[in-house]
Amino acid sequence: MSDEILDEITASDYKYGFTTAIESDTVPPGLNEDVIRLISEKKNEPQWMLDWRLDAYKTWLEMEEPEWPNVTYTKPDFQAVSYYSAPKQKKELGSLDEVDPELLRTFERLGISLDEQKRLSGVAMDVVVDSVSVATTFKKTLAEKGIIFCSMSEAIQEHSELVRKHLGTVVPKRDNFYAALNSAVFTDGSFCYIPKGVRCPMELSTYFRINEANTGQFERTLVIADQGSYVSYLEGCTAPSRDENQLHAAVVELVAMDDAEIKYSTVQNWYPGDADGKGGVFNFVTKRGICERNAKISWTQVETGSAVTWKYPSCILKGDNSIGEFYSVAVTNKYQQADTGTKMIHLGKNTKSTIISKGISAGKSHNSYRGLVRVGARAENARNFSQCDSLLMGDQCGAHTFPYIEAQHPTAQIEHEATTSKIGEDQIFYCNQRGIGTEEAIALIVNGYCKDVLNQLPMEFAVEAQKLLEISLEGSVG
C-alpha cells in the first residue's frame, strides 16, 4: 500500500519551472582563450585577473573530469556551452524601481519579493540572475560598519587588492576539474568582507537563478571574515525548467581569520529533470573554508534539486581550537543522483568537527553520502562526531554511505554513527488514524527526521526550507 502512495506523492512536478523573457546579451557557445578574454573585457577587468583566468584555463585543459563520484550522466560538451550571458541593462541601478518589472515578477513568483524581504526581515540581498548582479540592497547600513557586500565583478573593480590576496587561496585553480573551469570562466558571484571585530548585523543573502537556456553558470563567491568578526550568509537557488542539461560549477571560498565565525547556509532547488529523468541541472560545486586560530565555520545545506549533484562543503581546520560543522539534508527523487558530503581536515590542535548528514531518497533516485575526516600528524586532541542517516521512500531508490577516516595522531577521537530507515506504513497509518492525511504525514515525518539540520538554519530560511522539502516530496494522493 505505502509504496503506491509514496509513488504518487513523490511524482509531483517541479513548481518553479518557468522562464522569464528578459533580453540577454549572450556570447556564442564554445570555450577558448578568446572567449575568456572577451569575458574579462566585457567585465572591464584588470590584467592580473585575466592572467589568472588564462592560467586556470591552461590548467583545466590538462585535467580530466572526475569519475569517482557515485553518479552516472552524459558528460557535458564544453564547446556547446555559452560562457557569458548578462541581462541587458541600460545603466547602473540606484533602486528597485529601476529593475526590469519582468524580473521583479519572477522574484515574486518565487516568493522572493525584494520589497517584502527588505521590509520584513531586514535581509540584504545581492541578487544574481544569469551572472550579473542587478540589485544590491542595504549597502548603506553595511557600509557604516565597514562591511563590503557586493558582486564579485564589482569587488574586482573596487576592492581589487582584497580579492587578489584571497581569491584561490582556499580552493586553488588546479584543485579539481570544475574548480579550474570555474576559475577560468566565472562571470559573477558575491564578495563579502567583514572587518576586524565586526558582527554583521543582518543575514547576508544571495539568490542565484539560471535563466538563459544553455548558459553555464560559473559563480564565484568569496567570504572573508577578519579577526574576531561574525557573519551569517544565506544562499538559495531555484531554476526554471529546461530540456537540455544545464551546467552549474560554482566555487565558494570562506576565510575565517583568528576568532572569526562564518555561518553559511544554502537552500538549493535547481531543476531536477522531468519524471523520466530528462533534463535537469548538473551541479558540480566546490565549497571550502579555512579556519585560523579559534575560528569556526558552519555549513548548513538543504539540497532538493539538480539532476546530478556533487558537492562537499569542507573545512580546513588549520588554526588551533578551530571548529568545523556540516549540517546537511539532501533529498533525491525521480532519477536524481546526489553524491554529497564534506571533508573535515584537522591540522591544528584541539580542533573539533561535527557532521550531521540526513539523506532522503525517493522515486528511482540515488543518494550518496561521501565524507572524509582527516586528522593530521600535528592535530593533537582532534575530535570528530559524524552522524549519517538515510531515509528511504519506496523500494526503487538507493542510499549509499562512503565514510573515509584518516587519523595520523594517536589522540584523535573520531565517532561515526549511521542509520538507514524507511518511512513505514506503520508510521503513516498511525498519523492517518489521528486524522493526519498521508501527504501531511510524510511531510511531518520528513521534517522530524531533518530537524537537527533545519534547526541550524536562520528562522526565515528554515520556513522556506521546510516548504521546499514538502514541495519536493508532494503530489496528489489517490
Binding site: Q427, Y430, N432, Q433, R434, E440, L444, I445, N447, Y449
Partner: protein
C-alpha cells in the same frame, strides 16, 4: 453509534473475521475479550480502516454513515480513535507538535477553524495533569525512547486531546504496571460522557477492575461467541478460555 453487521475480513489469504455482529450506543463501555489469534486486533484495525485488512463482507455503520467508504483519516475526523497496542515512534516530531497537527487536521477535515494557540496550550496542560504526566512529555519526540507505560499513557493523552466519540483501546493494559494502569484507567473514566463510547480490547480481567464495562463479548475464531454483563469477565478469569474453546470446538 456504531453498528457492525456480519463483518468479515481477511489478511492476505487468511480469513480472520467470520461474521461479527456488534452494536455500541453512546455512553456504553464494551469489553472485547478472547484468546490470542481470535481476531481482536483485526477488528480494531478494520474499524480504524487499515488497508492491509480486506473487508470481504458485511458492513459497519457509524452514526448513519457507511464507515467502509471512508479512508482512515476521515474516520478519525468523524470521531473514531484507536489506542494502538504498539504505538510507533516518529523521531524529531514532538508530542505537542504531533497532537497539534492531529487536532488541526481533524478540524480542517470537519471544515472548522484551527484551534487557537492559547486554547491548545491550556488543553495540553489540563490533559497532562489529568494523566499525571510531566509537562516535559510534550517536548519529547513522539514515543521515541518511551517506556511501554509511557507509550500507553501517551495514547490516552492523545485520546483526551482529540475527544473522540468512539475510543478503541487495543490492549492498553499490556506493559503497564499497577500504578500506571490505575492512572490510565482513571483517565479513561474521567473522559467518559453520555455521548461517547469505549471499546476495550483485553486479554485479562485486570483492566476491567478499573474500567467497568457495561457489556462483555468473547471473541473466538473470528466470531463473537458469548456476550454478557461484567460478570462474564469474572467467569472467564476463573475458568480460562479453554471453556470457550471447548464449547465452540
Amino acid at each position: 453509534m456504531i453498528k457492525i453487521n456480519n463483518l468479515q475480513a481477511r489478511v492476505e489469504d487468511k480469513e480472520i473475521l467470520k461474521g461479527i455482529n456488534l452494536e455500541i450506543n453512546p455512553g456504553e463501555i464494551h469489553a472485547i475479550m478472547g484468546p490470542n489469534g481470535s481476531g481482536k486486533s483485526t477488528l480494531s484495525n478494520v474499524i480504524a480502516g487499515r488497508e492491509d485488512y480486506e473487508v470481504t463482507g458485511g458492513s459497519i455503520d457509524f452514526e448513519g454513515e457507511d464507515l467502509l467508504d471512508l479512508n482512515p483519516e476521515e474516520r478519525a475526523h468523524k470521531g473514531i480513535f484507536l489506542s494502538f497496542q504498539y504505538p510507533v515512534e516518529i523521531p524529531g516530531v514532538t508530542v505537542s507538535n504531533f497532537i497539534k497537527t492531529a487536532i488541526n487536521e481533524s478540524r480542517k477535515g470537519r471544515g472548522e477553524e484551527p484551534m487557537e494557540a492559547r486554547e491548545m496550550l491550556a488543553k495540553m496542560r489540563e490533559k497532562t495533569a489529568l494523566l499525571e504526566m510531566d509537562k516535559s512529555y510534550l517536548s519529547r519526540s513522539l514515543n521515541e525512547g518511551f517506556s511501554g507505560g509511557e507509550k500507553k499513557r501517551n495514547e490516552i493523552f492523545q485520546m483526551a486531546m482529540l475527544e473522540p466519540k468512539l475510543a478503541i483501546l487495543d490492549e492498553t493494559d499490556s506493559g503497564l504496571d499497577i500504578d500506571a494502569l490505575r492512572i490510565v484507567a482513571g483517565g479513561v473514566n474521567k473522559l467518559r460522557t453520555a455521548d461517547n463510547a469505549v471499546m476495550v480490547i483485553t486479554h485479562y480481567q485486570r483492566l476491567l477492575d478499573y474500567i467497568k464495562p457495561d457489556f462483555v463479548h468473547v471473541l473466538y475464531n473470528g466470531r463473537i461467541v458469548k456476550s454478557g454483563g461484567p460478570e462474564l469477565a469474572h467467569e472467564l478469569e476463573e475458568k480460562g478460555y479453554d471453556w470457550i474453546k471447548a464449547e465452540n470446538a
